[in-house]
Amino acid sequence: MTTATVPTAAPARHEPAAGPSLARLTGVELRKLADTRAGRWLLITIGLIAAAIVVVQLVVTDAAEQTFTAFFSPSLLPVGLLLPVLGILSITGEWSQRTALTTFALVPRRERVIVAKLAAVVLAALASVLVSLAVAAAGTLAAGATGGAGAWTFDWALLPYAAVFQVANVLMGAGFGLLLRNTPLAIVTYLLLPTVWSVLAALIEGLRGPARWLDTTYTMEPLLGPDVTAGQWGRLGVSLAVWMLLPLVAGLVRTLRREVS
């Protein structure tokens, strides 16, 4: 019989093994982003959408406007719409597929798992900026070859702004996922809230002031341009504190206390 010949079922005598480092846990979480068909397709879709935007611009915009910067910035928006979904799924997937049972049995210090998950999606967001750069470069080459401007001028200030933009997007998603734990609920809430904000602000006079500080659609917009003023940073900070930091902290507290079953 198998059990008699394979000694690996034997309980070993060993010293308590050290716990996994955050780097190792982040590696595991990065792997989880891509090791299912659904996860892989989400990542591929993000790349494809960035590429599609560039193709559309090649066809539609005037030749003179087909520059590197003009290709780069517009690709950030649709990617920024999908990154929150990635953030949400990375958290809620553990609960909907009930893999949290294994994950938290292996790492009972749940905050370490959550930090690793956040680190993994932040890395994914930063990688998406690289993808945007790559497709913009490909677009510029194609524009040069097809009679467009193909100019390589690039305002380097755009790069850190783009990184902040995408990281904020993915972390807002993760925060919603952490707080609401339910995939459809988190996605719908995340996508609906800005619209609800705009509608309310349009209807109610008194909300127009706060909306300028709290509506992330509005506060994050300057990040797509080359200049962000101190006032704009302030408004961005306030809105992110409410829509990113608050859900992250509240969701973390909830996750630490939650019963896993």
């Binding site: 198998t2 309980p11 308590p16 009972p108 210090r109």
Partner: protein
């Protein structure tokens, strides 16, 4: 070594687990028995730090589970075989756990081999697995870190008779090498063959626990007479607590000598008189837990 100390879990007014205390020693297999909803899984989740107890506590290898730096290397856990991502392959599921625990990759292949999942099965997605294959994968996950303690919730669920036989051998072997096993089931016969000790739980409380032999010995006497009706009357008159078993006899909570004496005094012809053994324990199990499962059905 697992020590469970006055564990209690309340959900609002409902008490799922009440004052449960037991310990599992190295070198033994402990069967954790109870009907569905008796509190077995809740107790196991509390041991593993997944459910916070209302009061009481538990330690594994001398420490509360949540204080273990790398629990997968100390204690193997299988709580629910179907709680796996259906989109991952069996091998990928194990690889993620191996990376988390810091176990080398050869161990993944060795463990897959150990639980009888071949290369084809390992490359398939868990969504396509039968329940039996998922149980094997769950067992692989538990054994992956080479732990000294195993906690398995209904591991025989979904296994075919051959699989159940194989798992018994594996667990027996594991315990004989000094490992500690806590194994739950709602079927007495399933754990009877492999367990050294039994903890019976019903309605959230421990209703019986001890050495399997002792529990079986104390399980009463099986008696059968040509005239069953007269036997019933005789037993009642002698104040011997008896319950009818499924085979037309009675299980009496008394020594065979006392039962035989009562029958002889009444001049009854007995066709069978012996220690009830596992049949008696099953009877005990059913009576002890009958109320609990009714409650479960109502809830």
């Amino acid at each position: 070594m697992i020590e469970v100390d006055h564990l209690t879990k309340r959900y609002g007014p409902h008490t799922a687990v009440e004052d449960v205390t037991f310990r599992c020693e190295p070198g033994t297999v402990t069967g954790f028995l109870g009907p569905n909803g008796a509190g077995k899984s809740t107790t196991m989740r509390m041991i593993c730090g997944l459910t916070p107890p209302s009061s009481g506590g538990a330690t594994v290898a001398g420490r509360p589970y949540r204080r273990l730096p790398n629990p997968g290397r100390e204690i193997g856990v299988l709580l629910d075989a179907s709680a796996q991502h259906p989109g991952r392959t069996g091998r990928e599921t194990l690889t993620l756990a191996a990376r988390t625990m810091g176990v080398d990759r050869e161990r993944v292949a060795a463990t897959l081999d150990l639980v009888g999942l071949n290369d084809t099965a390992a490359r398939r997605r868990v969504g396509a697995y039968s329940l039996g294959m998922r149980q094997r994968l769950g067992l692989a996950l538990a054994l992956l870190g080479d732990p000294r303690v195993l906690i398995l919730d209904e591991p025989a669920n979904g296994l075919d008779p051959e699989g159940i036989f194989w798992m018994r051998g594996l667990l027996r072997d594991y315990a004989d090498r000094g490992g500690t096993v806590l194994l739950s089931s709602h079927l007495l016969r399933e754990v009877e063959a492999v367990a050294d000790r039994l903890v019976v739980i019903g309605g959230g409380r421990v209703v019986a626990q001890g050495d399997k032999g002792e529990l079986l010995a104390g399980a009463g006497t099986l008696v059968r007479a040509r005239d069953q009706h007269a036997l019933r009357l005789t037993l009642d008159r002698a104040a011997l607590p008896a319950t009818a078993d499924t085979g037309g006899g009675f299980v009496v909570r008394a020594e065979p000598a006392a039962v035989g004496q009562a029958a002889a005094d009444a001049g009854l012809v007995l066709t069978e008189l012996r220690p009830a053994g596992s049949g008696g324990l099953e009877q005990l199990f059913l009576t002890l837990t009958a109320g609990a499962s009714t409650k479960e059905a109502v809830r």
